[in-house]
């Protein structure tokens, strides 16, 4: 069946709402407006204003309210319009959602799903182009995932709703229009494993969310040069699937990590450190990172493109690794 990332997300929401009366969707403009990215379009009409709840601009409080409702046994899906605004509710996510189970000695569960759009690439400038997935992946108590495919857009929500603890899902804003084929019976997917999106033997390209496509493009560009790049889509950013990452790197002996976060303190740094710790003696060359430049993302297209990780830079980094040794 032909569909889009947006429609797959919507199908997942619709199914969740239909299946479980405890599920409701809450956030800015999810209802009447139809969702900023049109993900929830039509759901208000289908499920009514009790379950498709437009909120005021009060990120901290509607996320906190999602936490409270989850504590009381509901299964809220809270949409924070974009990760850019999530700094306003980070305290609730870190100090309550992620912490309550432990701090209460296991008594209080927060089965909450938070969805947010993330990333740059649409020329919306510095305040609207953040990629803070790495920050969320730092926080114990959270599960963090980033669907990069139609299957994951369709299947991650159901898995997240089955999780008794908070799950944060990052939807890259450039992916909503992604088109492709999806099995009509596509259902839940796991929230534990990374996926090899393209096999290869010479170098491992590790990406997630919005950078998976760039890694695949880089791999395609490397092929005619005789470089077989393996592409890993992390899928789950916390907990990281070390087995898949290390398994691949031990085989290819080289890795490039692609991350739209600013380079310093990026999630890519964590991946690099883990490879250091888990596969140091298997490496033929140091792990490379292709990340965003350390600059607030500028508005004009040429500068934005220069600031973000691009397929060409990924391919170039891979080339250097392959040539440097072995």
């Amino acid at each position: 069946m032909k569909t889009t990332y947006r429609e797959a997300l919507r199908a997942a929401l619709r199914e969740a709402l239909a299946r479980d009366p405890r599920v409701f969707l809450m956030g800015e403009d999810v209802g009447r407006y139809g969702g900023t990215y049109a993900v929830s379009k039509g759901l208000l009409e289908e499920f009514g204003p009790e379950r498709i709840r437009d909120t005021p601009l009060s990120e901290s409080t509607f996320v906190g309210a999602g936490i409270g409702a989850a504590m009381a046994g509901m299964r809220p899906i809270v949409e924070v319009m974009t990760v850019n605004f999530s700094m306003l509710c980070l305290d609730q996510i870190v100090n309550n959602a992620a912490t309550l189970r432990h701090m209460s000695g296991g008594q209080v569960a927060v089965p909450l799903v938070i969805r947010m759009a993330t990333g740059a690439g649409r020329q919306v400038a510095a305040q609207h182009s953040h990629s803070l997935e790495g920050w969320y992946a730092h926080v114990p108590g959270l599960t963090v995932a980033a669907p990069a495919t139609l299957e994951d857009a369709r299947g991650m929500l159901a898995a997240a709703l089955q999780d008794p603890d908070p799950v944060v899902l990052f939807e890259h804003a450039t992916l909503y229009g992604l088109e492709g084929e999806l099995a009509a019976d596509a259902g839940p997917v796991d929230l534990t494993r990374a996926a090899v999106r393209r096999p290869g033997r010479d170098v491992t390209l590790i990406a997630f969310g919005g950078t998976v496509g760039k890694a695949l493009a880089a791999a395609a560009a490397l092929e005619p040069e005789g470089i077989q790049a393996e592409v890993i889509d992390l899928r789950v950013l916390r907990p990281l699937d070390g087995e898949t990452i290390l398994g691949s790197v031990r085989r290819t002996r080289r890795a490039v990590v692609v991350d739209e976060g600013w380079r310093t303190g990026s999630l890519a740094a964590e991946i690099s450190a883990r490879i250091m710790e888990g596969a140091f003696y298997d490496l033929d060359a140091p792990v490379a990172r292709v990340c965003s430049a350390e600059v607030p993302i500028p508005y004009p297209r040429h500068l934005e493109e220069a600031a973000l990780p691009q397929a060409a830079a990924v391919a170039e980094a891979a080339r250097r690794l392959v040539k440097s040794h072995g």
């Binding site: 409080t61 409270g68 009381a72 209460s104 000695g105 296991g106």
Partner: protein, 334 residues
């Protein structure tokens, strides 16, 4: 509440007095134990403010929920957590109400719907809104009560929470424990508008201000407020005007207020005042006070002994309860 004696039964009057006395005794003992290093971290005493928790919580039934702050020993005890479980928590023992993980600032008890113990000022308000939202969505007539200090009034979450609760007509009872200080900052120096009823009007929220040193007044006001909330009329903001007799926490040198001011407020000690009132009204009879105090002491000493004798969580369990064990059900307590 002056003249004539209060309209309270002997039984209820003594019950209220007992709650205040055991809370007071519990905390005085905690202060000692803190000095001995048995209790550590932060310790925020409620001494002087007992009438607020003791009175307000009368308005709630077991089906209702409570969200409190880091100054919540009194609320926990009055809500029905055992002194044993709370004291063991103060010690950090495995038998504590939060398995020792939380300590003084993070008392939890799912059985009595006591949802913390939140140490981020105003951080509990959105949670209470969410608890109430769950009730509203399920058509349950329950109240979610949220206690917070005057300092919380300045935080954005106060504003957002009152607006959201009012907008969605949610059953939240907001109780502001106005003890006139946020740490060392007097309310006049942190609030531009001191009339909280006017503040509530900014959200079209019903509100009332009550003398927080008089337990019967607090109870009566809280009942009115809870009735309003339970009736489906939306949230209510109850301000209880009270005073903290002790330092903010053990670290506080109290440079910001005059001894005389504290002494003046101590004249209005809610425990002493209510004791006198009951005595004057005839509800408190000779021997009652001694018995109540002795019971409180016994309860607390037993709790100390329990805490002392309790085991520590094994260090191997450090990572327990960060997330549910894989495959576990949500373990939710609605």
């Amino acid at each position: 509440m002056t003249g004539g004696g209060p309209a309270v039964s002997r039984e209820h009057g003594l019950a209220l007095l007992r709650q205040m006395i055991r809370v007071r005794a519990f905390e005085e003992r905690c202060a000692e134990l803190y000095g001995q290093g048995k209790i550590r971290g932060f310790l925020h005493l409620y001494i002087g403010e007992e009438a607020v928790a003791a009175g307000a919580l009368q308005a709630l039934g077991p089906e209702d929920a409570v969200v409190a702050t880091y100054r919540e020993h009194g609320h926990a005890l009055v809500r029905g957590l055992s002194a044993n479980a709370v004291m063991a928590e103060m010690f950090g023992k495995a038998t504590g109400c939060s398995r020792g993980r939380g300590g003084s600032m993070h008392l939890f008890d799912a059985a009595t719907r006591f949802y913390g113990g939140n140490a981020i000022v105003a951080g509990g308000l959105p949670i209470a809104v969410g608890l109430a939202l769950a009730d509203a969505l399920r058509g349950q007539r329950r109240v979610s009560a949220c206690f917070f200090g005057d300092g919380a009034l300045a935080e954005g979450e106060f504003h957002e929470s009152l607006n959201l609760a009012a907008l969605w007509t949610l059953p939240v009872l907001f109780v502001c424990e106005n003890n006139r200080y946020a740490m060392g900052t007097a309310i006049e120096r942190h609030q531009a508008q001191l009339d909280l009823v006017l503040k509530a009007r900014g959200y079209a929220v019903a509100a009332e201000s009550v003398d927080g040193m008089e337990v019967l007044a607090v109870e009566a006001a809280a009942r009115r407020a809870a009735d309003h909330v339970r009736s489906g009329a939306g949230p209510f903001l109850l301000e209880a005007r009270t005073y903290r007799f002790r330092a903010h926490s053990a670290y506080d040198p109290e440079l910001y207020r005059a001894k005389e001011e504290v002494e003046r407020w101590k004249q209005r000690d809610p425990v002493k005042g209510f004791t006198a009132l009951l005595r004057d009204g005839g509800q408190l009879q000779p021997g009652d006070l001694e018995r109540i105090e002795a019971e409180a002491t016994a309860e607390i000493e037993a709790a100390v002994a329990f805490a002392e004798a309790s085991p520590w969580e094994p260090v191997e369990d450090l990572l327990r309860d960060v997330q549910a064990a894989p495959g576990a059900a949500a373990g939710v307590t609605p």
